[in-house]
Amino acid sequence: MENNISQTDKKVERRSFLKKLAILALAPIAFGFLGSTDKLKTIKKWMLENGYVPNNHKWGMGIDINKCIGCGRCAVACKNENNVPQEPFFFRTWVERYRIYEDGDIQVDSPNGSIDGFENWRTNKKMLRSFFVPKICNHCENPPCVQVCPVGATFKGEDGVVLVDSDYCVGCRYCIQACPYGARFLHPETHTAEKCTFCYHRIVQDKLPACVEVCPTQARVFGELNKKASPLVRFLRMNKIGVLKPSLNTEPKVYYANLDMEVK
């Protein structure tokens, strides 16, 4: 048995060696044709400086509405981590409170994106149900914002994360209009589009996004979508899942457990 395995191993090794040899022989010719700048395109697997290979990942987030306590620590941490202006008009993530009353009235609010907390004034109306909903860029599989960007300054990376190239953004704000979730804003100082990046600079270093790191109740789960052992896949297996505005066919990669019909 063992012998067998080592034999096939050797075969595979030999084959891959031959492959490498062929690539080595052909590469200069191929590059001659394609021009040296196309190097990355031919070798599809490419790395960032710290060895992170985008191709090997596919990121997503799970949010359990039943666990969110509306403390707003995620919104605070996000602003700290990503230098988002402190004013209440710019958010990469925020938390909404839904209060649904027995008379059919629905109140939604998010004072300063939840950073100032939620005031607790009493009414005579009887509450039917109430809950908090954290909102964030959905990192859609079919992102409308990427579709409309005229210059290619926002894009979906190979790891599924939707990023902005702020040096290339012209500030036309078409992406802000196209986002159905209100997840984008124009940075008041750089005058370029801004949005959640899943804390890209953290996840390439194996750290959690800041909002997930500080969530005290594990209402947010971050992880890989195509690895069986990831906490996110477990989250998707254990819960009934909903996404926001499914009818728009954006295919969000932020998944909500216990999502209410009133959440839009």
């Binding site: 210059v151 036309c172 078409y174 984008r184 728009l248």
Partner: protein
């Protein structure tokens, strides 16, 4: 930044219902209202001009060259509001060198360049070439040189060459009609294709844009013709005016039907967004949509022109009614653009609240900048009429 915060903070108090926190800042302001208005005038004026060449509407001959130059001067200014509203105008060239083929907006540069160079410039050049050469022969000094350069130093005014010019004016006009449709239908598509916004997202949007564009273009040429001719001390051609008013009337009927169809469809389908849109129309947009766009800009001019046509009226009354109608139509169409662009951003994509638009006065994106941009085409038109006079009497026999 300070300014922006000072501008946004009072808006917080005027929000009705719930809007996403990033939606408090309204992103497309008066400049983006101006942009479809200006391109609309271009497309409209061109379609009017092509009536003369392609459909042989002889009565409109006096306005043909004027319409072409109007289209030209508005087209030159059309990209300015876009440029001024960009966060980084200095990077605007990126849209030409790395256009994203999936983006509706990315094609702007090419549609614009095609229309400016392949249609308008070419047609004007072929139309004027013989006259320019003849003018430059008689003139001296700087004017002579300007005309020489404009004519690309061409000299051939043989019978054959003139015939060639005429043939090509016609061909370009025929290409130009779909191009004008493309130019403005395309602007409609920029809005109509935003699926996230139910106020914009509609297949009818490009067509509604197009017909309202033709309406505004005809009305603008009518106004310009009625102002310029008396200033030049000439007589208004009442046959031409009648024809212009008739076309204005027909196109307005089509425009009105399309908008009515859009309205009926929305109300009948009653999708998720209908409640907030109904609230938007009956509150924030009531004056600009129902009063200005519908009554002032559409129904009143329609009735006035219809009455004039039914009851034979004296020319002076006719002229007055045409002039007033055309001005009202201009206001109405500007209001249409306002209602689409600003209206589409007043309600939240959560469908739970409305915000307000507070116009700023100073700065690149402010009111004054919009006024300047709106006045520019008229200045350019004045200069163009000096270089390429569109008047019948200066044409060489």
């Amino acid at each position: 930044m300070e300014e922006l915060i000072q501008h946004l903070t009072p808006i917080l108090k005027e929000i009705w219902g719930y809007i996403f926190p990033n939606e408090i800042e309204l992103h497309w302001g008066i400049l983006i209202v101006l942009y479809p208005y200006l391109t609309g005038l271009v497309a409209g004026a061109f379609i009017l001009a092509s009536l003369v060449k392609v459909f042989n509407v002889k009565e409109l001959q006096p306005t043909y060259r004027l319409a072409m130059l109007t289209a030209m001067s508005f087209l030159i200014v059309a990209p300015l509001p876009l440029l001024a509203h960009l966060g980084h105008p200095e990077k605007a060239y990126e849209i030409l060198i790395t256009p994203n083929s999936a983006s509706a907006m990315a094609m702007f540069g090419f549609v614009y360049a095609w229309y400016l160079m392949a249609v308008l410039c070419l047609e004007i050049w072929f139309e004027y070439r013989r006259d320019i050469i003849l003018w430059s022969q008689k003139e001296t000094g700087i004017k002579k040189w300007i005309h020489k350069i404009v004519s690309l130093f061409s000299k051939d005014i043989s019978e054959k060459a003139i015939h060639f010019d005429k043939k090509w004016v016609k061909i370009i006009t025929i290409i130009g009609i779909p191009s004008a449709f493309l130019l403005h239908g395309y602007v409609g598509f920029i809005f109509g294709s935003v699926k996230a916004n139910p106020w914009w997202s509609s297949v009818l949007m490009p067509i509604v844009f197009l017909f309202s564009a033709i309406v505004s273009g005809i009305a603008m040429v009518l106004v310009l013709y009625m102002i310029i001719t008396p200033i030049r001390g000439k007589q208004l051609d009442i046959l031409c005016l009648d024809k212009l008013a008739s076309y204005l009337f027909y196109v307005m009927i089509i425009d009105f039907s399309l908008e009515a169809l859009d309205f009926v469809q929305r109300v009948y389908e009653s999708e998720e967004s209908i409640k907030i849109l109904a609230y938007l129309v009956s509150n924030k947009l009531f004056i600009s949509l129902v009063v200005i766009q519908l009554f002032m800009g559409m129904l009143i001019p329609l009735t006035m022109i219809a009455l004039i046509k039914i009851f034979k009226s004296p020319p002076d009354l006719k002229k007055m009614v045409y002039f007033i109608s055309a001005i009202l139509v201009q206001v109405g169409i500007f209001s249409t653009r306002w209602n689409i662009v600003i209206g589409g951003q007043l309600f939240s994509k959560s469908f739970r609240g409305l915000t307000v638009y507070k116009i700023t006065f100073f700065g690149l994106e402010g009111f004054f900048s919009a006024v300047v941009i709106f006045c520019l085409p008229f200045i350019i038109l004045y200069i163009l009429t000096k270089i390429l006079p569109p008047w019948e009497e200066v044409r060489n026999p």
